[in-house]
Symmetry: D2
Subunit: 204 residues, 4 copies
């Protein structure tokens, strides 16, 4: 494999990128001037060097100062409401919710959804880390499960509630899930039965 | 205009049909055997002859027996729960909800949404008919507003609550709207702010 | 089946129309005023009554005057160049080409393409009618095969050339097919091998 | 701007990549292990270091051996037919045609199409390089213009024929353009007038 082929293989792993576009990326880089490619190369190296994973919420973040403690700026922020902990699937979910400014509490990134049929779940997602974390969160009052509304998201919601049952029984911590119903743009005429059922049940 | 052109013009009014497809319909009819076209012609005539508009919910329905009283089979059904009245925009919304079997109450078809900027609203939608109807519904306990989740739907929800304020003040009838939050298939990463806000507010 | 269901079934046969849209058509007709539906019903009846199939090119056409001879306005037009005969698959192909004004000769509608695997081809398309027609066309100099560029279109091109071989051998009539190469909007980067091959072979 | 933002800006320049996907790329790299990111960084650097532009056809190619002469493997190949020279817009066009194996001659990459309204064309595309090159190609018999079939492609075809008129007049070198007509998948019914016209004109 020459450099073009090797680089095509790597770009093919990028999210949403197939063979053809991966190759276009390579030709794009070949045609660009050296400065651009070198800048990109350097930035990617820097990104990895500066990237740390938060020891509290497990999100990846960039810290140019190489601070000792590995805590991201959200977890370190004293204005964050530490009485709620939102469990999300992945970094990009956290970014979207954080950017929307509708939530001001803590996060925990599970690192994936629970496949409906699988055995060794603990290896793929941070369920053990979550169980260990909860007793240490002294001001915690509510855990919010925030997963996409599809079969795997529903299964993950159910699974985590089950796993946390014992630990929450003896505490005052509530567990809740994001509300369901009509979302922006939902047209009644074309709604599925589940959405109609949830919208009707949760009417207010 | 010859017959082909006239018929094309009529098919162009069909929902979702443009010039090209309207013309294809005409050529399709020309190529089909006479029985098909005559059957279609007869059925359309019959449909209109047998179509009545329900005097209670205002939906269109087909009654081949030409009954005297103009009440549709839902409004006439004694098993329907007459303590709830769902206000919907149009016939196809009612059909979808009815088909989903998640709701067993009465309906009222408003006949449209309230445009955000317009004066003579009463002429386009059946707000007066709704106001007249409510005092006569002796067993009514809850009005459910069920509109699509878009600016016009929201405006209609707001408008009707306002119009019914006086009439409901002195009664025990509640007014509610379909719940909002995540709908089937919603991915957190790509959710808009309103959906996230509603999902968080309505968590449970 | 009631009228709504029967009419839905009929609309489902319209080209490009599925169950959901067929039903929307029915509700659309129910909500429209009687005049519209009756006008439609009448026009469909009239269309069929006035529709004739041209005895020369086999296209369907509308003749309100109920002329005795069953010849369409293209075949009857003396300004049409009768030295070329274009064989097309269906009425809508003829309409498109005729509308484009790039061709001024005669047409013959085959009534379908030849399936790649099928035995009794003569029953589905008018190959016998074509064979019978050619010796009677005294001024004919060229037959143009004009089929869509897909496997079935190619097979039909091949099949007709084969069927007409004997009849054309002893005559001066040429047989040709529409040219192949780049069509409007073709981007070289995304072209398939066949298109590139044809474009290269037919360069000029 | 921190590293995440800087890298997002750079990925946004990649062909077909918008803000959202650019950001996903960055988070993807943060979540990947260091080896992956470092490998990518290194390969991009290497790619640029090894990338040369062919002095004959102007395509970019990778040469790990840092050969002195800057000639790509197609131009250096003795089995290539040097009697034809195909002029293409860009590297990816050349790659597609080369991969299709329908052409075995030489290439020349123009470096862009000629905008329909622009003055200093010579600065954006290699028209001067082309004019200089032709007299030196001793075995050249045919120049093939191979541009995408859109207004700018047509204009470029016209422009180059005009620019080469004088130089070709006194020589035996032909100039041709890729053939036009139906391309794979073209349906007659939906064809535009130009495609029908070309298909009819180039029938065979």
């Amino acid at each position: 494999m020459d450099t073009i082929e090797k680089l095509t293989e790597i770009f093919k792993e990028f999210p949403g990128i197939g063979e053809r576009q991966a190759k276009r990326f390579v030709y794009f880089l070949m045609a660009k001037n050296s400065d651009y490619a070198e800048g990109l190369s350097l930035l990617i190296k820097e990104l990895r060097k500066d990237t740390m994973q938060c020891s509290q919420c497990f999100r990846f973040f960039v810290s140019p100062n190489l601070k000792k403690e590995k805590v991201c700026e959200i977890c370190a922020d004293k204005n964050i409401d530490s009485s709620t902990l939102m469990i999300v699937e992945k970094d990009s979910d956290l970014e979207s919710i954080n950017k929307s400014r509708v939530y001001n509490g803590k996060y925990f990134i599970l690192g994936g959804l629970i496949p409906i049929i699988e055995k060794n779940t603990n290896k793929t997602v941070r369920i053990n880390e979550l169980i260990k974390k909860i007793p240490n969160e002294k001001s915690l009052k509510e855990i919010i499960l925030a997963f996409s509304l599809n079969p795997q998201g529903n299964h993950t919601d159910f699974y985590i509630r089950n796993q946390l049952k014992d630990i929450l029984k003896s505490s005052a911590i509530k567990i809740s899930s994001l509300g369901r119903g009509l979302s922006t743009g939902t047209e009644l005429e074309y709604s599925d039965n589940d959405t109609l059922k949830n919208a009707l049940k949760n009417r207010q």
